[in-house]
């Protein structure tokens, strides 16, 4: 089995190289057959990598521990579900998984676009394939040379290598034995890798010096889908940190977290600035830079996670793949820069900034701010590496740095979220500013004053609340204004009008829904300013108080099964003297990996989470150490995440008007074909 997988990967590498070469040759010499061959090679690469993945899954499921990637991430007692998930838990497996997802995306691109006869697309396709496959070749090189998932153990004690079969594997890292962690990597990877597609189309347009915005229209859905996955991936990672790691928070500015945030920031900037290009023909160079930046940050993110270049709490791997990534990123950036600079004349802006108070300028500020955030995060993440290179001392910066820079940036962004969509293109009059913003500012002000009177005295949360109410009010006003017009013209009720309104321009109103989701996330983050934390030693029967609750330790139990042994505390929760809930924080010892972990007990409520950690045993060996957090509003972050996904899905729906036009066009085409057929008949006759 491991031989089949290994050869499949080797063959895939050869075919990947072949595909790049013939696609480029086919395009330059205008040989359609060569181009076709390149496309078919891409399909074959997908099949071969699928075979390799199937081999590794089969090895994992059948406990074939002679394979290093299997014995390092699985063991006999591991539940079947996690044996499957072990595929993307280790470095080798997850790089293979990366390749596979990319090959599936490439397959989709080939299948969707190869039969399109439009000249504009046909000209791009060979280069699109070449870029996709060049990325693929890089990952296949890693799979074949640096991190082969089918490496087997050899016993060297006799001087000559002999096959060695370990009796059992060392098990899946217990921190990863959690359902969210099983779906987090695939979702995040789907986001990372999805951005390869817009990059490939952008590069192809640039290489062929194609004029117009064709590549942007073509890749809009791909970008949206990738962005949606990336957003989900980042939030799932935060959620996993919150539920599993047991330190009471969800974001620690860890290099691995930053690695997923950076492409999200540039991707978000790109999603906004393409509108400038579509509507006004502006910012063409900028969009190219953003799509390239996002692509390289995605590769860089994979590198940060997998190479251990910056020591991180959960960078589980330290391996020889670093130089490969460094080389690829350097060459790739250099190549892209050369292509961009030599073709600058094709990317001239068609319009100028007309007024400071305009939609255009709000987009410019939005981009500037997102990029500033990205640079700040990148700078902080790479600070140890940079300081070592420049000064010879390794210096790290911690959460205070990231918070200090990003909180003001985030608040300014929230402000733009409210203001931007209501500014008119070209120029906005002061009159319309007053009309649109007087009420939202008033409502926001009232809410802030009320909260201040209720005793909230911290600046950042108050500003966040003001902006959140302000943005929500502007969004509601937008929906209200649109729906009112429809309601007057049609027989529909309010709900019907809102649905109709959204379906007429899914992109705009889906975008608004996403903005509302971001508002919820901001409110959730602001809540963290009021977190409480206590650590106490508790015996059976003793009690403590936090966040309006009284916690009583009712019992301490022992659990034992094949996978782990555990101690479990039964904590009774009283509110105003009444028993409201029971929580069961656990402390597990996983037998295969010989690791201890905590199972956090969380009582989630919209207003406040109660978060109980079985932190350890007290010195007397009988009592337990309990760490309890009261985290207000943290659930708003996850709710906001759901709303963002909903908005993304809405924006992906085709517009109702567009559908009607397409149906009309199809009708017309059918009519034309019929006429042509008739005339053909007439000629033959």
């Amino acid at each position: 089995m491991e031989q089949i997988g290994s050869f499949a990967l080797l063959l895939a590498l050869a075919l990947g190289i072949y595909s790049v070469v013939v696609s480029v040759l086919g395009a330059r010499r205008e040989k359609p057959l060569l181009q076709e061959s390149g496309e078919r090679a891409a399909i074959a690469v997908c099949l071969l990598i699928t075979v390799a993945v199937a081999c590794l899954v089969s090895l994992l499921l059948r406990d074939q521990f002679q394979v290093a990637a299997v014995s390092a991430h699985s063991n006999r007692a591991l539940p079947l579900f996690y044996k499957f998930a072990a595929l993307w838990s280790g470095q080798e497996g997850s790089l293979l998984f990366w390749s596979w997802l990319l090959s599936v995306y490439s397959l989709l691109v080939v299948v969707i676009y190869r039969r399109r006869q439009e000249a504009s697309l046909a000209g791009l396709m060979p280069y699109v394939i070449a870029v996709l496959m060049a990325t693929q070749v890089f990952f296949l090189l890693l799979n074949n040379l640096a991190a082969n998932p089918f490496s087997i153990w050899a016993d060297m004690s006799a001087g000559v290598p002999r096959l060695f079969l370990p009796a059992d594997g060392s098990g899946l890292n217990p921190l990863l034995q959690y359902p969210l962690m099983v779906i987090h990597p695939p979702i995040l990877y789907l986001g990372y890798i999805g951005f390869v597609v817009p990059f490939a189309f952008g590069m192809a347009a640039l290489i062929t010096r194609q004029k117009g915005e064709r590549w942007i229209y073509t890749t809009r859905r791909w970008t949206m889908v990738s962005w949606g996955f990336l957003t989900c991936g980042v939030l799932l990672g935060a959620r996993w940190a919150y539920v599993v790691l047991g330190w009471g928070g969800y974001w620690g500015w860890d290099p691995v977290e930053n690695a997923s945030l950076m492409p999200w920031l540039t991707g978000t900037a790109y999603l906004h600035s393409v509108m400038m290009q579509e509507k006004k023909g502006m910012m063409k160079v900028w969009n190219m830079v953003l799509v390239m930046g996002t692509y390289f940050l995605c590769i860089f993110g994979t590198f940060l996670t997998r190479s251990g270049v910056v020591s991180s709490v959960h960078a589980f791997a330290q391996s020889p793949i670093g130089p490969y990534f460094a080389t690829y990123i350097t060459l790739g950036v250099a190549f892209s820069a050369v292509v961009l600079v030599t073709r600058l004349d094709y990317l001239k802006s068609e319009n100028q900034l007309d007024s400071f108070l305009s939609r255009e300028s709000s987009f410019l500020f939005n981009n500037l701010i997102l990029l500033a955030a990205c640079f700040a995060v990148l700078w902080g993440t790479l600070f140890p590496v940079l300081s070592e290179a420049v000064q010879g001392v390794k210096i790290t910066v911690g959460a205070p740095y990231f918070n200090k820079v990003n909180i003001p940036i985030g608040l300014f962004l929230l402000f733009l979220t409210g203001v931007g969509p209501l500014l008119a293109w070209r120029k906005t009059s002061l009159e319309s500013l007053k009309r649109n913003f007087a009420w939202p500012i008033f409502i926001g002000g009232v809410a802030t004053v009320v909260l201040a009177i209720l005793g909230v005295r911290k600046l950042a949360p108050l500003v966040t609340l003001f902006l959140s109410v302000f943005v929500t009010a502007t969004l509601m006003a937008e929906f209200y204004r649109g729906a009112r017009v429809i309601r007057q013209k049609s027989q529909l009720g309010w709900v019907g009008s809102l649905v109709h309104l959204t379906r007429r321009n899914t992109r705009r109103y889906g975008g608004y829904i996403i903005h509302f989701g971001m508002v919820l996330i901001f409110i959730g983050i602001a809540g963290s300013a009021f977190n409480e934390e206590k650590q106490v030693e508790m015996a059976v029967g003793s009690a403590m108080e936090i966040g309006g609750f009284k916690l009583v330790c009712a019992n301490i139990e022992q659990i034992d099964n094949a996978n782990y042994a555990a101690g479990r505390a039964v904590i009774e929760l009283y509110q105003e003297g009444k028993l409201v809930d029971r929580l069961y924080p656990e402390r597990r010892f996983y037998k295969a990996s010989r690791q201890t972990t905590t199972e956090v007990a969380i009582r989630p409520r919209p207003a406040q989470d109660l978060y109980v950690v079985f932190a350890g045993m007290a010195d007397n060996g009988r009592d337990i150490v309990l760490q309890v957090f009261a985290n207000p509003l943290v659930n708003w972050v996850w709710m906001g995440g759901f709303v963002v996904v909903l908005g993304t899905l809405t924006a992906l729906l085709p517009n109702k008007a567009a559908e009607a036009i397409r149906a009309q066009a199809a009708e017309q085409a059918r009519g034309e074909r019929a006429t042509r057929a008739e005339s053909k008949h007439a000629i033959q006759a």
Binding site: A154, P161, S361, V393, K394, P408, T598, G616
Partner: protein
């Protein structure tokens, strides 16, 4: 009346300046120096005033718990460093004898390292060999 482009450049310039200023302040507030135990013990008195980060292996049997204070020894290339942990968070589960640990805190003039944060990684990393055998991984493709 300024041109819109000039206005944007001024606005953008202000934003960039503010971000840079915040960044510099943030770095000053939270920068931490990575040092080796050998460098620490070489006797540079400037080390006492900085926030530091030291890595090493936890010496077997050296962990002593005394109420909330935990003391242990870190070992890096034959150099030993006594560490006292005084932080509020419970120590990570991975903090055991022989673990690779990173201690963050300050070096006291009495040559004890007082740590506010501890990170630890299991000595038997997940990528490590299965127990009971010393082997080298070989690829079938070779």
């Amino acid at each position: 009346m300024m041109k819109p482009k000039t206005k944007f450049l001024v606005g953008g310039g202000i934003i960039v300046a503010v971000v840079v200023w915040l960044g510099l302040a943030g770095v000053r507030e939270s920068k931490t120096y990575y040092v080796t135990i050998a460098e620490l013990q070489a006797g540079d008195s400037a080390a006492f005033s900085k926030r530091l980060r030291v890595a090493g292996d936890v010496v077997n049997g050296s962990i002593r718990r005394d109420g909330k204070k935990v003391s242990f020894q870190l070992k890096q290339a034959e150099h030993l460093l006594p560490v006292v942990y005084v932080g509020t968070e419970p120590l990570p589960d991975t903090f055991v004898d022989g673990a690779q640990a990173i201690a963050e805190g300050r070096y006291q003039p009495d040559h004890v390292f007082v740590a506010k944060h501890i990170q630890a990684k299991c000595a038997s990393k997940y990528e490590a060999a299965p127990p009971g055998a010393a082997q080298k991984a070989a690829s079938v493709a070779e």
